[in-house]
Symmetry: C2
Subunit: 180 residues, 2 copies
């Protein structure tokens, strides 16, 4: 599904994309100094990107609607990661009540060529834009979530892990005009 969809879209070379993303992170590090604030800003930028990508994703991916929150996990891991980053991810550590899950992946094209300065290594979540993008996209389908990295290969972890937790499910109401 993701494979097919990714064939249809314009593609940009991963190395150019990674270096461009690295330039963005570096600029924010210069601007904000505090790595914690850089994490916040990256998440915020990603959130806006997620809001923008959601419609396009629904149109192009052919992914079925997710009636239960937990179903979004497979769509993100298997379809969206393949489609946008060209890598595979998998779902892990699903909460018993289905209200939280992890997206786990080894390869992270955004983090290619990154040498993290020691001073930042334990504080900066370099790819935090991805968390924001997931949050923004899920909000477009009425799931208010919090999203954060819990493991990052750049910090010496064996794999990357992003935790997604449901905070609130909104129920779409038809706009007033259509209620007639």
């Amino acid at each position: 599904l993701g494979e097919q969809a990714s064939q249809r879209a314009e593609q940009v070379n991963g190395e150019l994309a990674a270096l461009t993303y690295g330039a963005l992170v570096r600029q924010l590090v210069v601007d904000y100094e505090d790595p914690g604030e850089v994490n916040v800003q990256l998440e915020r930028l990603g959130y806006n990107i997620g809001l923008r990508l959601a419609d396009d994703f629904l149109a192009r991916s052919g992914a079925p609607p997710c009636r239960r929150f937990v179903e979004t996990s497979e769509v993100i891991a298997r379809v969206a990661f393949r489609m946008y980053l060209g890598v595979s991810a998998r779902v892990a550590s699903v909460a018993e009540d289905g209200s939280a899950y992890s997206v786990v992946f080894e390869e992270n094209p955004l983090a290619d060529f990154v040498e993290m300065p020691t001073a930042l290594r334990d504080q900066l979540w370099f790819s935090n834009l991805l968390c924001g993008a997931i949050r923004g996209a899920l909000e477009m389908v009425q799931y208010v979530v919090s999203v954060s990295f819990v493991r990052d290969v750049l910090r010496g972890d064996a794999y990357n892990e992003i935790r997604v937790a449901l905070r609130e499910q909104r129920y779409e109401r038809a706009p007033p005009d259509e209620e007639l």
Copy 2:
């Protein structure tokens, strides 16, 4: 040539790449205010990216060495644009002595989804990172150039045009060890 090479590389979705690049430009606009300074900064970031990409490009593209400066035009327009941006470009307006040329292209994946505020429209060269990348990459093969946008679809031009002009050709000397 570029087509084949681009198949082998990791690819990132063009929309994600465009939105990430847009976030970088917006951040610089906030930081520097003066659009002229944003142009300078984008070119500088691109230059560093070009320095990084050159080796990879030579290894993966299979492009022949350019013995004359003018030969770099076709490699950039036909191979590098395809490989890194996934779009076709062509060479135009080659100077009689071969010391300058234009790279012309219609589609610019970096500029997708951009709505340029009127205040910036005539001053910002939104995709100026590309100029820096070309300058950096050419410097790695001993051509010191100046590179600038002269037309941009975002400004209402019919196509995008980047002008590349040779300033100095350096001659590579083998490092001392190998001169023996």
